[in-house]
Symmetry: C2
Subunit: 169 residues, 2 copies
DNA sequence: GATCAAATGTTATGATATAACATATTAATA
DNA sequence: TATTAATATGTTATATCATAACATTTGATC
């Protein structure tokens, strides 16, 4: 029962106080390990995009990423960002948040999972939770009607505890 | 236990054989009734957009709607469609499917509900299911972390039973 | 070091959505 | 019923998000 293990099992990391430097470093290091294991190439632009997303638990739009890439000396045409994001999403290092057309780093890149997101309308942080299993409701309904689920989108928008306590800004 | 009642309780109407003419007519009539009850104005363009969406259970993008509006003699600038859609979505007559940036008519406009969608990647039909309650998984997780949910997006993409049986096209 | 596959560079354009402001219609009420 | 306020529509312009297509470079393998 290492501290690392316990921490990574907690849902909603984004809404908890934590050492984010350590959080980001360990996810980046996990990405390197996974790419090595799987023969994937974490090229400079892909690594940079992941690094940008790991700066915080707030999601970034593709064009925000693009502009930060430009600041770091990368080429800045849209396909540059979208290709890197495609790679990161396909390989489970990043998730796309459909509701806001934006991207966040995955909290648990090792698990195959169907993530659930809580998007705070106030602070814009996005917490990834319940990363373990498919929604039972979805599963049950799908089975009932013979629908074969390939991908799920489960997102809730609302107010996180902190923002609720702080009251309207 | 009227037939109407039983029918409206079935999930995934879109993936079941049914008299769609009757289905559409009854939803349109429900929209008129609800607007009267609530003092809302189902203006010609709003009614036309709802009518277009009620033609089938396949979702339509805003620009597809716009072009059909134009065919019917309505003005065809984007805001025309988006405003009508805003009205219909706000008042629960239409849902937006985030995953595909498109809109479908609501199957149960009378209930306040958190809909769940099954999007068939093959035939493009969208079934609305489990319209009764919030996802318990989402609720439980939200409560655990003190997150106050205002809106949920629950969508599954995959293959409906018909398309699965028919095999790859 | 030739060859193939994967990744990147680049131009152009497609698709989705809204801001902003003018005008017209409707509803409420003086 | 004339006035007014609120709602809805008309219109121009532009913002935002995303990909097609093709050229070039890089890396891996034989």
């Amino acid at each position: 029962m290492s501290p690392r293990k316990a921490e990574s099992d907690l849902p909603a990391q984004a809404f908890r106080q934590h050492d984010h430097g350590e959080c980001a470093r360990s996810l980046m290091s996990a990405a390197h390990d996974l790419c090595t294991e799987r023969g994937l190439r974490l090229t400079p632009v892909r690594e940079k995009v992941l690094e940008l997303l790991l700066k915080s638990h707030a999601p970034l739009g593709a064009y925000a990423i693009l502009s930060e890439l430009a600041d770091s000396g990368f080429r800045a045409q849209p396909p540059v960002a979208y290709r890197a994001l495609d790679f990161l999403v396909e390989n489970g290092f990043v998730h796309r948040i459909e509701k806001i057309n934006a991207f966040v780093a995955c909290n648990q890149p090792r698990d195959g999972h169907s993530p659930v997101f809580m998007i705070c309308s106030d602070c814009q942080q996005v917490a990834e939770t319940s990363a373990k299993t498919q929604s039972p409701t979805l599963d049950r309904t799908a089975r009932k009607i013979g629908f074969d689920i390939q991908h799920t989108v489960v997102e809730a928008q609302g107010l996180c505890a902190q923002c609720r306590e702080r009251g309207p800004q």
